[in-house]
Amino acid sequence: MQSDAPKAAAPRGSLLTDPKARAWTFQILSILVVVGVGWYLFHNTQQNLANRGITSGFAFLDNSAGFGILQSLIDYTERDSYGRVFVIGLLNTLLVSVLGIFFATVLGFLLGVARLSPNWLINKLATVYIEIFRNIPPLLQIFFWYFAVLRAMPSPRQSYSFGEAVFVNIRGVYLPAPEAAGGLVPFLISLVIVIAAWIGLARWSRRRQEDTGQRFPVLWVSLALLVIVPGMAAMLFGKPFHWSFPELTGFNFVGGWAVIPELVAITFALSIYTAAFIAENVRSGILAVSHGQTEAARSLGLRSGLILRLVVIPQAMRVIIPPLTSQYLNLVKNSSLAAAIGYPDLVSLFAGTVLNQTGQAIETIAITMSVYLAISLSISMLMNWYNKRIALVER
């Protein structure tokens, strides 16, 4: 008998007792409630704004800001608009997040592995670290590190100097910054060439391994190329940059790159805090790979480095990724605590100073929240996608 699609539905009950009808009634009611509450709040807000003569709308984004900003990744002067201030805040938040995620991941993996070390002392040290740092509020840690960093550093005049090029003092870490010079173009071209060569080499060596089983020391050769070729370009076509060295003029160092202590403290605190959680995730991820897997790999003659790379980590990653994702999200959200120590992140600059200069609380907070929401959603989407891609195939 060929199956045909269902025709008439079975008889229905009355509106109150039929589950479908009831479900729809309920759903329509809940839509009404949500819309009603939304409208009520909107109405009140409208009324309140009108009553109190508060400006609304997003026109303020074009107004000029008029205040200085401690750190901005793009050019900024006081004449620039609030819109640009928003971008600067967002970039600063992203900077802290990216740095924090990077260091927290590295530190977290190291600690997670240390936590599993057969070496008793290392194991215990890692445990102590994890238990201390994950049980103290991050805000407290941020304050602590900020003032600890400030207290430990000398004034600009007594800076620690490394080869008269790098200076460390309470105002930050000052590094020489490259500035373009005549040989820059050939230099950049040579760099591109080396990188292209690197990729080609890697491809070729993979093919060679597949064909002959021999491995080629790609990394070392490429590193050598990386030094030699641009070096020759520099010699032939002249210096690509001259270095702008930081110099003490007046109160502070001028020139070079400066890494401000606020950034250091917040990155430090967030990395240390989040690493404690990541370490636990890593540990349970590695423990989730059964001992039999390592034994099987060992009995095949694989060395421990290869076992880790080819067998343990790929499997552990599947367990680690989902909790790691939420740690990343937490770190991004916690980066908003930067406001407490004056690091000009999104919350501090935009939901703080701009809000206060313009008085447009609803708009600025709405924008700020949407930005965090968007970051959170995109990180989770990315991670979900990755997670799906690497999921184990089962029956």
């Binding site: 070496n119 002392l121 509020p137 407290l140 304050f143 003032f147 406001a339 609380a361």
Partner: protein
């Protein structure tokens, strides 16, 4: 036919057991680990003695003003002098017994719930859960039935931290459970509403939420409505936390096999009875550790109310460190704050691990 005589067990060669064996196996099994051990020893050596020295050996404990702190180590006098404020905030001195009593009531009231053999535990628990909040409100806030009123603006310190954390989680539980049910509902509209709600709160930082609740909420409400500042913070924390609780509870519900729903349905139980009598009791038991972890996170997050000017434990301490009379003892303040938070969080995380182990074995049998 022979009878095989077994050889006696010999003691192991001495390098593999005993103190030496242990040291060899755990500290110096190979050159790489030996290096690590030395490195770790070095770290211990450069960190522990100075810390101990600062915190104990050359610390000042006695006195009641900054002149007592001369030795160069930690000045615990500062903490000692301010201790009452760190615990009670500006709660009137002569009424502090009310706070103590509230805490004691919580401890002794909840204790029977942890006794295995307690009869009628469920009923007792329900009565306690209903009665205690009223009692606690009467004691802490007062203003009726003969208790003098203590404004919430006078609440502070550890007491406020605990109030926020406990009320937050207690409020978040029922809401979180409803959200979890909604997210697993087969009504698409309800599901969408719940998912949106949950994802929204999980996606934004708590400080923006607190900020909104503290200064913007009145903009959304009619002019005559006036809600206490602490209450608004509590509402914000509750909504925020409910989203996290919802996800934890959902995890637990997913672990309940479909057969349980079917068996309950086949017996003629309706949706709410299936959930209330069969599914949630099992799901909640499974997620107790997760809930405790959420509570720990919440407990740490209470420190953020500094942003909206509530004087919780951390803010009280922070405020004390800028008191001109005690300038320069910020480190002591932060260390003390850290210690207080640590004790609570560590204790709870141990408890959650203990539960996890207990539930784990219970599961296997």
């Amino acid at each position: 036919m022979t009878t095989h005589t077994f050889k006696p067990s010999l003691p192991p060669p001495n390098m593999s057991v005993g103190a030496m064996g242990w040291i060899r196996a755990n500290l110096f099994p190979n050159w790489f680990n030996s290096l690590l051990t030395l490195f770790a020893l070095y770290i211990v050596w450069i960190t522990i003695p100075p810390i101990l020295n600062w915190a104990f050996f050359s610390a000042d404990w006695i006195g009641d003003n900054r002149e007592s702190c001369t030795s160069g180590g930690a000045c615990w006098v500062f903490i000692k002098v301010r201790m009452a404020q760190f615990f009670y905030g500006f709660y009137p001195e002569e009424l502090r017994w009310r706070v103590d009593l509230t805490v004691l009531l919580a401890i002794f009231g909840a204790a029977p719930l942890f006794i295995k053999a307690m009869p009628r535990k469920l009923r007792y628990g329900a009565v306690f859960l209903l009665a205690y909040p009223v009692l606690a409100y009467w004691l802490l806030h007062g203003g009726f039935m003969g208790m003098t009123l203590v404004e919430t603006s006078k609440w502070g310190g550890l007491m406020l931290t605990l109030v926020i954390a406990v009320v937050g989680i207690a409020g978040a539980m029922p809401l979180g459970i409803l959200l979890a049910l909604g997210r697993r509902s087969d009504m698409p509209v309800v599901r969408v509403i719940c998912v949106t709600f949950i994802e929204f709160w999980r996606g934004v930082p708590l400080i923006t939420v607190l900020f909104m609740s503290s200064v913007m909420l009145p903009l959304f409400l009619p002019e005559e409505v006036n809600i206490d500042k602490l209450l608004r913070a509590l509402i914000a924390v509750t909504l925020f936390e409910a989203a996290y609780v919802a996800e934890v509870v959902r995890g637990g519900m997913q672990a309940i096999p479909k057969g349980q729903y079917e068996a309950a349905g086949a017996m003629g139980l309706g949706y709410w009875r299936i959930m209330g009598l069969v599914i949630l009791p099992q799901a909640l038991k499974l997620v107790i550790p997760g809930i405790v972890n959420t509570f720990i996170a919440l407990f740490k997050d209470t420190s953020l109310v500094i942003i909206i000017g509530l004087f919780d434990l951390f803010n009280s301490i922070h405020q004390a460190t800028v008191d001109p009379a005690w300038l320069g003892f910020a480190t002591e303040g932060y260390v003390f704050a850290a210690l207080m938070f640590w004790i609570f969080c560590f204790g709870m995380s141990r408890y959650s691990m203990h539960l996890e182990r207990k539930l784990d074995t219970g599961h296997k049998r």
